[in-house]
């Protein structure tokens, strides 16, 4: 009896650990499900590209398929082996950092894509930071000045802009600033190979502006909503009754309550960018992952497509996990609840 009380069962110890370290537990659970999700994503990507009827060799060669060329491609893509084998060698290569050879120009996919990862990362990071700075500031200000003309006009503009496709925004900016009205900025952003995007700031302005306009309204609307909720809460009312300055109330008392929602929507915006860069990079001829995907699809370059789709999906899953964890850390109530 005594021994049983002194040595708690493994399950009980696990529960105690979970109670004491809710964040660690959440991270562990999230990372595990993330890995499973990514594995399933890889199966879907593989199934779509290599296992669908009317196989990849046909897709690549199209109508020009002769039996000899078909066989050559089938050997190149290992299509003559069982599907499980094919998947195994593909995923094994991906995990070992070998992403295959591009069918478009016989270079290795990683050599082709490597520099583009930097370009896209710069585009995403810059758009993310700028849109968050503008949108969160506007969200806080409109919540503080709720139902004024400033608030109403910001909300109406956000509602209108939120529905616009990226290429419509991009072309509107090109028409306004590059081609028809003003001629201030380049309409294409061809970053020369070997140079970095930050060495070509002029070329970055329009693509970044497009993405900021596309994702900013989401962040703005959520921030405004969360701030209004926070400003209506009891503890902010308390701070008001204490006679604190309104700036102090906004930033020290209300904003922390709104922070988890703001972090979540920033994560959501980053997720949106994973798809948004495709169109924007194509419009501006910006040499990133999105433009590479459009090229690869046009050339039916299966290994490159597989790699790019997997990369974008991985980005998606990782950002999702990171967002959840950071939002949890920023939210004392939820941390206690879990």
């Amino acid at each position: 009896m005594n021994a049983a009380v002194a040595v708690p069962s493994r399950a009980a110890r696990l529960r105690a650990f979970e109670r004491q370290h809710p964040v660690l537990r959440l991270v562990a659970v999230r990372v595990l499900t993330g890995v499973v999700t990514l594995w399933l994503v890889s199966v879907v990507v593989f199934a779509a590209t290599q296992a669908l009827p009317g196989n990849a060799a046909y897709a690549v060669l199209g109508r020009s398929a002769t039996p000899a060329r078909l066989h050559a491609y089938e050997r190149l893509l290992h299509l003559n082996r069982p599907l499980i084998d094919q998947y195994g060698s593909w995923i094994g290569g991906v995990l070992g950092g070998h992403f295959g050879t591009s069918l478009a120009n016989n270079e290795s996919v990683s050599a082709l894509i490597g520099p583009r990862v930097v370009n896209s990362a710069v585009l995403v990071a810059l758009s993310g930071v700028i849109s968050v700075l503008i949108a969160v500031t506007l969200g806080i200000l409109t919540a503080a000045k709720r139902d004024t003309w400033f608030d109403h006009s910001a909300s109406v503009v956000a509602l209108a802009v939120i529905a616009l496709p990226e290429f419509v925004v991009a072309l509107a900016l090109v028409i306004l600033f590059a081609v028809l009205v003003l001629h201030a900025l380049p309409a294409v952003s061809a970053i020369p190979p070997g140079s970095y995007p930050w060495q070509n700031l002029n070329e970055l302005i329009l693509p970044v502006a497009t993405l900021v306009i596309v994702i900013g309204p989401y962040t703005f609307r959520i921030t405004r909503g969360a701030m209004i909720d926070a400003l209506e809460s009891d503890h902010v009312e308390m701070a008001r009754l204490k006679g604190l300055s309104s700036r102090r109330i906004l930033l020290v008392h209300a904003f922390p309550s709104a922070l988890p929602a703001v972090i979540q929507v920033i994560g959501l915006s980053l997720l949106y960018l994973a798809g948004g860069i495709v169109v924007v990079e194509y419009v501006f001829d910006y040499p990133g992952l999105g433009a590479a995907l459009v090229d690869a699809v046009a050339n039916r370059d299966i290994p490159t497509i597989q790699f790019l789709v997997l990369t974008l999906a991985t980005f998606y899953v990782v950002v999702n996990i990171a967002t959840d964890v950071i939002a949890l850390l920023a939210s004392p109530r939820r941390r206690a609840a879990s």
């Binding site: 499900t33 499973v36 999700t37 990514l38 399933l40 994503v41 879907v44 990507v45 779509a48 590209t49 669908l52 009317g54 990849a56 897709a59 509602l159 209108a160 939120i162 529905a163 616009l164 496709p165 990226e166 290429f167 419509v168 072309l171 509107a172 090109v174 028409i175 081609v179 028809l180 989401y218 609307r221 959520i222 909503g225 209004i228 929602a261 979540q264 929507v265 994560g267 959501l268 997720l271 949106y272 994973a274 798809g275 495709v278 169109v279 194509y282 995907l293 459009v294 690869a296 699809v297 046009a298 039916r300 299966i302 497509i305 789709v309 974008l312 999906a313 998606y316 899953v317 999702n320």
Partner: protein
């Protein structure tokens, strides 16, 4: 059943708000252009008439496009397929998502967990990237675009519907019906489904807007509706190189798509405000769809 008429009354109520009126009128104008356009186009939309990028003239009021086709005729003919495919894929996608969400909520337990895991896998693909993946192997076909858009709708809708269904099923009146011994399936269709009406209506609006964005983007990338067909997204890309010579081939499709999506979004916002009675309801649904919030505020 009251359910079948309630959605009309919801639409009517939304249409009486100011936002609703603006959204409806604006959307209606573009739909009118798309629907009537093909019948009133002065020239065949796929046949060259004059020199490329000719400036507007008496015969060709908006000039000509990249291979000398009448821009006005192409604009008039270029909307119905976009709207049709968007509407069909939205109905299918929301329908399938509704079934998946209800099924997961109704079965609960392991089935629910499993279904939602699969939903997560599909949510990990950015919709445009998923569509490109399918197109890269199967080629650009209208049916494939329809399937790709429907498949990217379904998981988002499933998530929202499941959360809403769980929320409704925890309410007292549903508990009471269950205690009376009504079979679960009847509870689901008779009690829970009617209470999801507003959520589904808002989803329909959001998804329809999103379908238009997605299909127009695909066409713009030249993987959607294929040349020589007239299509607004396609036209924008075709005529980009002539922007300085005759801007109308780009300008008018850009304006029409912008007006259409803004109008639809405004109307959806009006539906959300009237039905859910909350100021920030559409944002709330955005959040649920992306997994941020666990339940839509009903």
């Amino acid at each position: 059943m009251t359910f079948s008429w309630e959605w009309l009354s919801l639409l009517a109520r939304a249409a009486r708000t100011r936002r609703g009126q603006i959204g409806l009128v604006v959307t209606g104008l573009v739909v009118l252009v798309a629907a009537v356009g093909p019948f009133v186009a002065p020239f065949p939309s796929t046949v060259s008439q004059t020199s490329p990028f000719a400036s507007p003239s008496g015969t060709y009021p908006l000039g000509s496009d990249v291979i000398g086709r009448d821009v006005l005729s192409r604009v008039l003919a270029g909307g119905w397929l976009l709207l049709g495919v968007a509407a069909a894929s939205t109905l299918i996608g929301v329908g399938v998502g509704l079934l998946i969400g209800l099924f997961a909520a109704y079965r609960g337990g392991v089935v629910d967990a499993l279904v939602m895991r699969i939903v997560d896998v599909f949510l990990a693909f950015p919709p445009l990237v998923f569509a490109l993946l399918l197109v890269s192997v199967l080629g650009s076909h209208v049916w494939l675009i329809l399937v790709a858009v429907a498949v990217s709708h379904a998981p988002q809708v499933a998530r929202v519907v499941r959360a809403a269904a769980l929320d409704v099923s925890a309410r007292d009146f549903v508990r009471a019906v269950e205690l009376l011994g009504t079979p679960s399936r009847r509870v689901m269709t008779g009690e829970i489904l009617p209470n999801l009406l507003s959520v589904v209506m808002v989803e329909l609006g959001l998804r329809f807007t999103f379908a238009i964005l997605l299909i127009a983007s695909l066409s713009f990338l030249s993987f959607g509706i294929q040349p020589p067909a007239a299509d607004w997204g396609l036209m924008i890309n075709e005529n980009r190189i002539g922007l300085t010579v005759n801007p109308w081939g780009v300008l008018l499709p850009v304006i029409l798509i912008a007006v259409l999506t803004v109008g639809l979004n405004t109307f959806t916002d009006a539906i959300a405000r009237t039905s859910l009675g909350l100021e920030r309801s559409t944002e709330r649904l955005d959040l649920v769809a992306s997994g941020i919030a666990s339940e839509p505020a009903l």
